[in-house]
Chain length 380, copies 2
Amino acid sequence: MPSPLPDGLGFRVLATDGAARRGRLLTAHGTVETPAFMPVGTAATVKAMMPETVAATGAEILLANTYHLMLRPGAEAVAALGGLHRMMDWPRPILTDSGGFQVMSLGDLCRIDPDGVTFKSHLDGSTHRLTPVRAIDIQHKLDATISMVFDECTPFPAEHEVAAASMRRSMDWAARCREAFVPRPGYGLFGIVQGGVYPDLRAESAARLIDIGFEGYAIGGLAVGEGQAAMFETLSATVPHLPTDRPRYLMGVGKPEDLLGAVARGVDMFDCVLPTRSGRTAQAFTRRGPLNLRNARHKADPRPLDEACGCPACRRFSRAYLHHLIRAGEILGLMLLTTHNVTLYQDLMADLRQAIAEGRLKAELEAWRNGLARGDVSPM
Amino acid sequence: MPSPLPDGLGFRVLATDGAARRGRLLTAHGTVETPAFMPVGTAATVKAMMPETVAATGAEILLANTYHLMLRPGAEAVAALGGLHRMMDWPRPILTDSGGFQVMSLGDLCRIDPDGVTFKSHLDGSTHRLTPVRAIDIQHKLDATISMVFDECTPFPAEHEVAAASMRRSMDWAARCREAFVPRPGYGLFGIVQGGVYPDLRAESAARLIDIGFEGYAIGGLAVGEGQAAMFETLSATVPHLPTDRPRYLMGVGKPEDLLGAVARGVDMFDCVLPTRSGRTAQAFTRRGPLNLRNARHKADPRPLDEACGCPACRRFSRAYLHHLIRAGEILGLMLLTTHNVTLYQDLMADLRQAIAEGRLKAELEAWRNGLARGDVSPM
């Protein structure tokens, strides 16, 4: 068993299969088996799920959003309630983003300068400022198990020169974040590799971050419109520059097919709103591809969403009932589809972990890809 | 132990305290301890709750609405999915209303004649018809444990003459319902006493229903604007005319204070949307009266909603977190408040059942009334 670093996170690679790794992350809030998918709990709740339901899907770590929580209820308010874990009754690990991606998505409401970002709240128009130091301070107050450096979001597409300047500013901020971060046993800070789709910039960014030193390394600036092929290409060009003994986290990705390709390229951690958001818009992910439960073809279908799934939605309810709930605007429909989607994502990761451990990842990837591509064509 | 009637529901009065009764209802889908409160599951779901969460509150029987279910997904669709219990994974008893109250609340979309009601769907404007025979047939297809007779909703206020004519039409329809009802062991049909606020009409209605013979007797046409005093007065004038060996059900009632007074007057069963609907509008019922969780005074309050409550919302979360969830529009907020409110209602009924069994109902009613009237005045 690996032991946590006295001043950070423990991580151990248990097995490899090609570039893919089967690992284990040790934190102050428990272990995380990797590759791992983190459901998103933006406002300190995975939308439409009780925490124990999230845990029952197999999820061991959540992501929460610094931008949303700093505005409401506020970092100090969360701290006064004992931190995120206690406030939301999720005793397991939580990773927080730095808020950078969200504030820089505010468009006209946001102004970037060499030291940080000044922005207006989307809630009430009040003015706020985030800097590397403030972003780390907020994440500390939230009691994040894993904090992320505050970085600039490089626009896409971006010329090489623009991407380079943006990346270098992010590396400067990453150093300030490292300095501001208060080390605690079982807690950690991840750096974020930037550089757009340019391999030389990704390599430079990785080298700068390794030089500073982090408990883990994220790959940012992808899944922003570059397409799956360019994303995979950038991953293949970036991952070899990262330390083998530290976790690698691909931010904001993705569809099941994206996860398969990224795990094969050596990524250990993921987050994405897709399973939860889709659950609230009537889309279910299955081993045979997505289903839109609003569609009338499910009206009288007594089958479960996914025959191979053990989640409550699949074990206990028919597609016809889920269709009814969605059509009637019933909250239970969103609850069940969200639970199912998060379960499907966790099952996918569990399958990949086992396949890597057993040295048969290639076959497992093929099986998943074939199922996802086949579609829901079985007769009723 | 009482045994179910071979051709209907078993019911036994286990203890009395004044007019109040501690009873037990035996059905094809399990027992119900009375006095009992039935959470409302209009569209075959108690809104924002998983079925096992409903059961964990102590609820043993639900109400579902014939009007909503006949329109969507349709009685035949429910039957094809194995009936309501199986479709919604609630194996315990379910009572269905007859649809009468809802269709007669449609105003201009509804036309009443001596044999039934023709109405337009609020969903798509399509024309439908409900008669006593059709209402019973639908409830049979839904597999309702307890079906209700199809009755006319007497307007309020109504002159004696109007209330009398309306009641007599309902009694005529009640006889047609009894004839149409297919008896099955452990299933039952309840008659509904009408007659507005007129004691002579209530007595006449009760006598007519007893003459027809039902497995239980409901009191309808109350909680329609007459006020608590008139409701209690009508209850006191009606209950003595009902058989002592059959359950009594007060339809659509009510606030916690209403339940206290009605149990004291000999009512055994209740339903109301109040705990679930309030949960979705940020209102929590507590032993110290209602709380509006949207109110800013809860912003930093680390206390639970109700110190004496054992529900997940109270055991695991602060008012501050619930306030945050409500302000952020998070579904989890509605889930937790709904669960809490249904728990509070079930706890109230459990307290009354125990007090009746122990012959100390008066003191228990006082304790609840004092708490509810005191309000949430304790310092933070």
